[in-house]
C-alpha cells in the first residue's frame, strides 16, 4: 500500500543553518512525488515536484529510489521558511505525510 512517512513533527534550526526535512515513501512503481508548504494563515501550495528537479526558494529534493526517500534540503535556512511542510505521493490520489513544522529561529 502507498504510504508517506515524515518522521519529524517539529524541526527547529537557527537562521543560516542547513535544514533537511525527511520523507520516506512506500510505492512499488515510479513515484510522482511533491513537497507542499503551508505558511501561517495561507493555503497549502506546491513547493516543488521531483520530476522538475528544480530549486524553489533555495530548496531542493532528490529522489532516492534505493532508499525510497525524497528529503527536502536547504543549505541556509531563512526565517521566512518557517512553515508546515508536507511530502506527498500521487497514485490516483495524493497520499500526504503527517507534516513537519519547520521553525527557523533568528
Amino acid at each position: 500500500a502507498q504510504r508517506v512517512t515524515q518522521p519529524e513533527k517539529l524541526l527547529s534550526v537557527f537562521k543560516g543553518a542547513p535544514v533537511e526535512l525527511k520523507c520516506n515513501y512506500s510505492y512499488s512503481g515510479s513515484p510522482e512525488l511533491f513537497w507542499y508548504v503551508q505558511y501561517s494563515r495561507q493555503r497549502l501550495q506546491l513547493l516543488l515536484r521531483h520530476i522538475s528537479r528544480e530549486s524553489i526558494k533555495g530548496f531542493t529534493a532528490d529522489l532516492n529510489k534505493g532508499e525510497t526517500s525524497f528529503h527536502l534540503k536547504k543549505p541556509f535556512a531563512q526565517e521566512e521558511d518557517s512553515a508546515m511542510y508536507y511530502c506527498a505521493l500521487y497514485f490516483n490520489k495524493f497520499y500526504f505525510g503527517s507534516g513537519t513544522k519547520l521553525n527557523v529561529k533568528p
Partner: protein
C-alpha cells in the same frame, strides 16, 4: 483566473445539525479532492472525483458523510447529524490531470461543532 474557492470559510454548527461545504475548482480541472485536516494531524483523504464520478470514496469516515459533483465543476460535501469529532478544516483541491501535475488547494472551511 481564480484559484480553488471554498465556502463558507468558517462554519459553527450545533451537534446534530447537517452542514454543506462547497468547493469551486479551477475551471477545466477534471479531478477534485476532499481532505480533512485536524489539529496536530496530517491531511486525511476523504473522496476524489474524476469528472462527476467518485472512483474512490474510501476515506469518508461514516455514512453521515457524502459528496457530489455536478457539471464536472462544483462539489458539495455534506455532513449529516454532525458530531464534535467532525470539527476540522475541510480542504478541497483540484487538478487538471496528467502525469506529475500538481493539485491546487482552496483555503479550506473550518468547521466547528459545538
Amino acid at each position: 483566473g481564480a484559484g480553488v474557492s471554498q465556502s463558507p470559510s468558517n462554519k459553527v454548527t450545533e451537534k446534530g445539525k447537517d452542514v454543506e461545504l462547497r468547493c469551486d475548482p479551477i475551471s477545466g480541472h477534471t479531478a477534485l479532492y476532499w481532505y480533512r485536516q485536524s489539529l496536530g494531524q496530517g491531511l486525511e483523504f476523504l473522496i476524489y472525483f474524476q469528472g462527476n464520478s467518485a472512483p474512490d470514496k474510501s476515506g469518508l469516515p461514516s455514512d453521515r458523510f457524502s459528496a457530489e459533483r455536478t457539471g464536472g465543476s462544483v462539489s458539495t460535501l455534506t455532513i449529516q447529524r454532525t458530531q464534535q469529532e467532525d470539527s476540522a478544516v475541510y480542504l478541497c483541491a483540484s487538478r487538471i490531470g496528467g502525469a506529475n501535475t500538481e493539485a491546487f488547494f482552496g483555503q479550506g472551511t473550518r468547521l466547528t461543532v459545538v
